[in-house]
Symmetry: C2
Subunit: 700 residues, 2 copies
């Protein structure tokens, strides 16, 4: 942990490729470092004697024996890997590779990036980039970037997969009172990626909020694990772009990143405890409030306003959020009715009417914040002749610090706002023109509070027959079969997922034996990888009486042969009848995301999945609370719970099946896709009635 | 129309209640008028001799014979109605009532407001307010408000149901280059309401965009009719607050407005052709782009950027919008590949990479705008050492005017933006920090283009038997019955809505006669307003053979009597069997919204309406294209169209039924609520199988 601390707090930095040539990136880096870095700067360039008065070393190997903490590499791409090897050889542990011309530029670059990775592994380098704008850390004045602006000091650390976005943000922040602790331009993420920085900043006492602009996540599972822990202490707010199909292909053409599916990101970033936003405005609004305001101890908000209409707009915004309007205690109502004019609305939203001076805001705010039903407040003011925004700002700041509860403010107007906005900002109270923004920002606080209070539950490990499952998969692989069906139902059985009694058999006699064991009418299906729509060719018989089982076996085989002479016939499945009427057909599916790994899908069967697309997903392994949440998330959930006179199904059986399936696909990366369709959920359990899966033999 | 033109362009304005008393509203109004109004100001106040050097008249009756165009009333509430009567008597046609203490303040105020309405009607007054901040019109320097700021001249007219919001907007606009043509604070809308101002501004050549902040719409039907016409020429952008339940009750307590249902507003404002927004930021962003930029001739956008990451974010925003990324012609691709560097991405989004000077933006922009597949463009720039934002702004302005296609820009950054933003704003090209805002604003243009190109189709008037329907309703009313069921099926028949053959009868013999006419098995149901769940008491028999009809009649009556001895039994319904299996059960419902009148709801029956709430509504009368759109809007629409092997139903039959039902409820305001559940849609038509309605006898 925290092994990147010397990267951001070095005592000595070497610029490998330092130069004073006009327009060169190496010049910009050297100048930026010399400008504000509190440590030593070492110049390395065999072709110059000195750079801006610094002695130029031919190589890092020539630098005297004081250790170099960070090497910033700006040499041309064809010599970059060698330079980095030299750096590793010289004992430099942290390397920031500014040089471009790697994975982002075709096959030669990709080969170079592989070489880079090997060198980094050999010397155990903390390597940023390549193709990075660089890094910054304000406490030590470190600006190892080639941008134009140095960040102001602050408590937000920021990583970005777009260097241009970093320059834009710095340029914007330079005009405002927005500061940063560390900034890193991730570049191609050949070695260090978002998980490493999340890990670092999670341990950094000077980082209160982690912000990120990401186009992909290199290793979804690692990210979830790291971020889940870090977000217990430090909020992470992310833009993950490439959300839409168009955006994803734009991202792919821009960074060459293989975009995983948006659904995987949606689930994975949520499971990781991050707050995902879509716009730059949200990113910085949330950063500000998360770094400056305390977390609310509830989700109830009080609105105090001098203007009815804006009060209504604010109330709408609260209605759209995850917060609720606080219901005031009798004491609060009494006190407001004593202190406010008759025309005031003393219920929430509190409208202290247009002739309110700052003192009336103070009285109202003090009263509502003292109410234990109120977790946070928003002040919404319109300019009037009797209200001084500066006085109001002072009141808000005072009340905020007196109660230490979150407050955001909306000072509507422009000209009248004057010095009030900086007064509020300096005190950490966000202020906006638009009430919706104030409410959104407070809602981000509430969401983070919720994330922080999540109790993480380890995914349960059930006692399963892993060897038996392995045998089934390996057996299929040996026979050269990638797509399996009901003949692999034992795989589910091995993982404790209930399946109907029965089996796939190859003779009428065996079929009859199974039917006898079942002791009732059975379902019989032809089992053939070549016949997809079995019903269409008469390959399925339902309600076969025990005495008809032999004949039906023969019939099914004949029909299959008639359909396709050379079809591979694996046998006939003889299965206990499952009462579809009394149960509800659900679906469990798994596919594998390139970044996040196995993704488990749940939904109701038939039209719900096919027409209404009413499904939900989680990245496996899925814990019990996560599986339970999946059941709540689908719109059709009431149908599992007795809606319209249905039987209430055994939800715990579905939850357990989700977890067991999650364990199965986590244990066997060879399972690429898997569908249990239907999983029939009944009042007394859930049964997997049909199965399809695809395996990758290479992974076995 | 345009009868309000003298209200906004008067030559002489009288302040009725003018004063120079410190702090008085009459003083602020008088001062504001004297400050900038180009016409004459007349002071009326029997208690002062002069006000700011103006002679004070005792009454408007005393003013010499030059006509007064507008009277601004600021007298106390108890004398306001008399003052307005005097104004009417003196021939003043336009009155702006600033005075508060009317409908917003309890029963006395409500009575006063009724009196005000009567006087206004008697003298045919154009009356604004009461409880209004006042009005403004910049071309004549008219500031008849008691606010602090006069608006700058512009081409946007703005109405607001919140006076405080007007002051906030003016205060904000004073700091920016945001101008207005007319502004009105609607106050209590005792006489003039939003429809009147929409009507006025629709005819006003100096108003390019109409903005509104509304908490309710006084007359939904009138608003739809007026706005639908106006929006063919002039866009209307609205915040309608009280969207959420919490917001609606806040609005009710603030203005005393009876909030109609949010669903009615959603449908009604959409049918009116307005663009509804949720935040103040959207309101003014859309106002700016709609007033400054031409409409796009398509929905395809080109993105030109020097930064990959922000290009991806912009692409995401396009993916979220109703626009699409333009696919470039071969010629464009060729030209871009000739003029752009090798590393550039010449497909959309066009990434002209980080070393692009303004000239490269120019070449790229020129090329994409010349492509006929491109309807609009967004430029997204990040600050770099080689890019001057001022030069870029000049390029954008030039290309915008050369091609006259909509452009929005995102100059990311702050410090570097400098003079570029005002250059762009002056030329009418919106510029933002956040690409999502630029894309949203362009999407508003696209939406308005779509609204403008809508061809309005009059709701069809079918040839129906209105008298027969009236007889049925009156007959029920005479019997004192408000809730009707299947016994009123003839109502549907009278309006040409197919119902199963059959009738409600009162004797076993009549029952048998009907069954004979049908000539097949029938469904029989007890008809009683006292028995809601007929099936539960054995009150429904399906598949009754003709020979069993007599006995079944007796059985049904006995069961009903056993259930409730004194139940009112209206008879037994004998109905042709409708094949529910081959059809799809849909629902048509009607309820009456206080503002918008009859609202027609459509959805699939059962779980779709009850569990998934998958329904859509329109304000009646519903035209054929609107009814057709309703079928498209529900998520379960594919189930009408042959999804999962179902029969494709006769959609035109549903569409026609929606229209006929819409005609019925429009013809008879006495129908408060009505449900056809189910309307069974089959491949060859749609049949109303069951009916419930509630009538208001007073309305007949």
């Amino acid at each position: 942990m925290g092994q990147l601390s010397t990267l951001f707090a070095p005592e000595r930095v070497a610029v490998i490729g330092a130069t004073d040539s006009e327009g060169a990136v190496g010049r910009a880096i050297t100048e930026n470092l010399l400008e504000s870095f509190q440590g030593d700067v070492v110049a390395v360039n065999p072709y110059q004697d000195d750079v801006f008065g610094l002695e130029c070393h031919d190589s890092v190997a020539d630098v005297d024996d004081v250790a170099i903490d960070v090497g910033v590499v700006v040499v041309p791409p064809d010599v970059a890997v060698d330079s980095i090897r030299e750096a590793g050889e010289a004992g430099i542990r942290n390397v920031v590779v500014i040089t471009a011309g790697f994975g982002e530029t075709g096959s030669e670059g990709a080969a170079r990036e592989r070489a880079l990775r090997e060198v980094a592994a050999e010397y155990d380098l903390n390597l940023v980039g390549p193709n990075s704008l660089g890094i910054m850390s304000t406490p030590v004045g470190l600006n190892a970037t080639f941008g134009n602006e140095m960040a102001q000091e602050g408590d937000v650390s920021f990583m970005s997969q777009s260097g241009a976005f970093v320059t834009a943000v710095l340029d914007w922040a330079a005009e405002r009172d927005v500061g940063f602790k560390d900034i890193v331009s991730l570049g191609n993420k050949a070695v260090l990626d978002e998980s490493d920085f999340v890990d670092q900043w999670g341990d950094d006492p000077d980082t209160d909020v982690i912000l990120g602009y990401l186009e992909d996540v290199s290793d979804g599972a690692a990210f979830i694990e790291t971020a889940r822990e870090v977000t217990q202490e430090t909020p992470i707010v992310l833009v993950k772009s490439g959300r839409t199909d168009a955006g994803a292909s734009a991202a792919a053409s821009h960074t060459g990143a293989i975009a995983g599916s948006e659904r995987a990101y949606e689930a994975g970033l949520e499971q990781a405890g991050t707050i995902r936003v879509e716009t730059v405005q949200e990113l910085f609004d949330y950063a500000q409030i998360l770094s400056d305001q305390p977390l609310p101890d509830g989700e109830e908000i009080a609105i105090v306003t001098n203007a009815g209409g804006p009060g209504v707009m604010t109330t709408d915004a609260v209605g759209d959020s995850g917060m609720g309007l606080a219901e005031f205690s009798d004491h609060t109502i009494e006190k407001l009715s004593e202190t406010m004019p008759d025309e005031a609305n003393i219920y929430n939203p509190v409208d202290i009417i247009g002739d309110a001076p700052a003192a009336r805001f103070e009285a109202a705010l003090e009263t509502v914040l003292a109410d234990e039903n109120v977790a946070m407040a928003v002040v919404v003011a319109c300019p009037t002749a009797v209200l001084s925004y500066e006085e109001l700002a002072a009141v808000i700041v005072e009340q905020q610090s007196a109660f230490d509860q979150p407050i955001a403010s909306t000072l509507m107007g422009g000209k009248s706002v004057g010095d009030a906005a900086p007064m509020l900002n300096d005190a950490g109270v966000p202020t906006y023109f638009d009430p919706a923004r104030a409410v959104d920002s407070l809602d981000a606080l509430r969401r983070y509070g919720e994330i922080q209070s999540r109790e993480y539950v380890e995914p349960e490990t059930f006692d399963v027959d892993r060897e038996r499952a392995r045998d089934i998969l390996e057996d299929a692989a040996e026979r050269g079969r990638n797509r399996l069906g009901v003949e692999a139902m034992d795989l589910l059985d091995a993982y404790g997922i209930p399946t109907p009694q029965g089996n796939v058999v190859n003779s009428p006699g065996d079929a009859q034996q199974i039917a006898r064991d079942i002791g009732d009418d059975v379902v019989m299906k032809i089992v053939s990888p070549d016949i997809l729509h079995k019903s269409d060719i008469g390959g399925v018989e339902v309600g076969v009486a025990p005495e008809d089982v032999r004949d039906t076996f023969e019939d099914l085989v004949v029909r299959a042969r008639n359909y396709q002479q050379d079809a591979t016939i694996l046998g006939v499945q003889v299965q206990e009848m499952v009462d579809l009427e009394s149960g509800t057909e659900t679906i469990l599916g798994v596919n594998r995301d390139p970044q996040f790994g196995p993704l488990v899908l749940f939904g109701l069967g038939g039209i719900f999945v096919e027409v209404l697309e009413d499904t939900t997903v989680r990245v496996a392994p899925v814990s019990e609370p996560e599986a339970t949440a999946m059941l709540d998330e689908i719109d059709s959930a009431p149908l599992l719970r007795g809606a319209r006179g249905r039987d209430r199904v055994d939800e715990s059986a579905i939850v357990e099946t989700v977890q067991r399936l999650s364990q199965l696909v986590t244990d066997f990366p060879a399972i690429l896709e898997l569908d249990i369709n239907p999983l029939v959920a009944a009042p007394d359990g859930a049964t997997a009635v049909d199965l399809r899966l695809t395996i990758d033999q290479e992974e076995l």
